[in-house]
Symmetry: C2
Subunit: 369 residues, 2 copies
């Protein structure tokens, strides 16, 4: 199952005194249709969603299970389908998992969060229950669902939602759950200390607003802050640090332009809106993000990895506290990447956004001499 895909690559070190990092790319699992999100189980197995609506378990040797039973129907059109998955922090005791999907309801499609329980034999989801619909639904368009899930050090569940593309200003409306990052209790309810919990006319679930299509969401393990990556329009992809109640500007301010070359909104900044800490022009299409904390690549500790769809590849951002200090695009010839995550073994696992999609693994290598 493991096949050496490329010659050894020697990559940039994090600092002048760090040891050089050498890696090779291997195929960990194959035969997955547009894998989108993944989560490691305590026993080392990997749950992987397929966008058309299947969930599979990849064993420690890369063997792919049949589809799990009990997965709800999804709206698998456009960018929608079965999207992210995350384990509850107390999964070992509760076996609770959370999934994000595109769902069809009266009035159109929306981003939906579900809670479920993984069966003891890990062959099925039990009692999969929708716990939050990012209303209102939208009749037109099946794009920009957002849909990443992250648990915070505060125990809250954070969920990103997209602006749904057709009506950009949804991201600015506080009575609308599109184009937001939400902060939720384990049952999908708004938390009482959320920034807009007491504002009349605002949805209490909102943590931050003004997002376009956020598909990267990760807590910085060293600072505790919440980092987010979102797709800009033509140019203007962003990394943001999310603070409660803040407005990240879309579509009023952006560093990008529209696909037809025309201007969007008022410009790149406004005093009452937040600036990203890192922008790409032209775009890299950042999908998943993950901080690297492992021991397998000492030179990479502290880096934020960004899975990029286009140009396809893996971007490594070096960080200091809540700042980005450098960027490296790793040499890449393996196709579009939808997500990146660190395994319990300290290796990096990547999902390729392909009809015959794969889970790739980056392993330390030694120089061929």
């Amino acid at each position: 199952m493991l096949r050496l895909l490329s010659l050894l690559l020697l990559l940039g070190t994090g600092s002048a005194l760090a040891q050089p990092a050498a890696f090779r790319v291997t195929e960990f699992a194959t035969g997955l249709e547009h894998p989108w999100g993944a989560a490691f189980l305590p026993d080392g197995g990997l749950l992987v969603t397929e966008r058309p609506g299947r969930l599979r378990l990849v064993g420690r040797e890369g063997q792919v299970s049949p589809p799990l039973a009990g997965v709800p129907a999804v709206e698998a059109q456009g960018q929608g389908g079965l999207l992210d998955i995350a384990l509850a922090p107390d999964f070992a005791r509760t076996r609770e998992v959370y999934l994000c999907q595109a769902a069809l309801v009266q009035g159109g499609a929306l981003t939906r969060l579900l809670r479920a329980r993984l069966s003891p034999d890990a062959a099925a989801l039990e009692e999969a229950t929708p716990i939050l619909d990012a209303t209102p639904p939208q009749a037109q368009g099946r794009n920009h669902y957002g849909c990443r899930i992250a648990f915070g050090p505060d125990g809250a569940l954070y969920l990103s939602t997209g602006d749904r593309y057709v009506t950009k200003m949804r991201a600015q409306r506080l009575d609308d759950l599109g184009g937001k990052v939400l902060r939720l209790a384990r049952n999908g309810a708004a938390l009482a200390d959320n920034p807009f919990a007491n504002r009349p006319g605002a949805r209490a679930e909102i943590f931050t607003h003004g997002h376009r299509n956020p598909q990267g969401l990760a807590f910085n393990p060293w600072t505790g802050s919440l980092w987010e990556a979102e797709f800009g329009p033509r140019g203007g992809d962003e990394i943001n640090i999310l603070r409660p109640g803040r407005n990240y500007g879309w579509p009023v301010v952006t560093h990008g332009i529209d696909y037809d070359g025309s201007k969007i909104g008022e410009g790149a900044s406004r005093p009452d809106m937040e600036q990203p800490i890192h922008v790409w022009v032209p775009s890299v299409s950042p999908s998943g993000i993950a901080f690297y904390t492992g021991a397998a690549f000492p030179a990479w500790r502290g880096s934020l990895f960004v899975a990029a769809l286009n140009p396809p590849g893996l971007v490594r951002l070096t960080t200091e506290g809540d700042r980005v200090t450098g960027e490296e695009r790793l040499p890449w010839n393996q196709g579009r990447l939808r997500d990146v995550l660190q395994g319990p073994d300290g290796l990096l696992y990547l999902l390729t956004d392909q009809a015959r999609g794969r889970v790739l693994r980056l392993e330390p290598g030694t120089s061929p001499r």
Copy 2:
């Protein structure tokens, strides 16, 4: 003179199949005060300007000469002083050199281009003569001079000039030589086939307009196109490809914002203005640029190197034709960089923007095992 400054660094390769590039940083020359521009002589010597107004010759072993005689007075305030230097394409026969400097004239300071001849013993400039003043002079402010020189495959001399910071709209005015790239004959005159040569009220020297502070200028040796790097405001540093007569937008469109956080101009784009091919937000402060064509680092062939002031370091952009395909920030602990150039030996030479400035050299290294 040569001192090993850092342990070996193993750096990213240009493609998955390229050989890995390993380099080390050595000090080639020291004791230079804010070196700004440099040019290699046919015998391997290196002419280096110091911003306060001196020109020195660095020998092939790194020994630094006394200041050359015959260098004109400069306005060494703010960002001004003696800035870039370039050899004429026929230097071997004519010994002609071109310099760019900040000069004081009635009414204020401006960017000035000079032509001179290097004496046979290389100890003096002879007949240094101003051949172009980027008028109008400006009484206020001593910043944003631009001042890079590049000779094109067409034999023309290209000179970048800054907007002089105080009145941003100088960059948009066609009767003003600030915030432009100029295309000149060897005597400083406008060329007859320049894009605005026949437009009433426009300066015939102008090749492109709408620039803020362009300090990187280099012809792509594979495509023949002219690449330019300029400092944005807060964010919005740009790489542009310059086409005759085009407007690169400053200060009407920019991906950056003002130092006080406020908006500049109309946004990030306008249909009648050019988009950069690469933008940095936040800024890297790109000063000099150089394409790498050498044999010493095969994996780096085709890359554009960018000397960065802040955060200090060397940025490597991978390119395909006239596109940027990737970015790597090399690990760096050696201070702000003002310029980068390739030596006749295929090694990279860097000028550090320091009061006790240096010429650093990147050499291939081998792994310590």
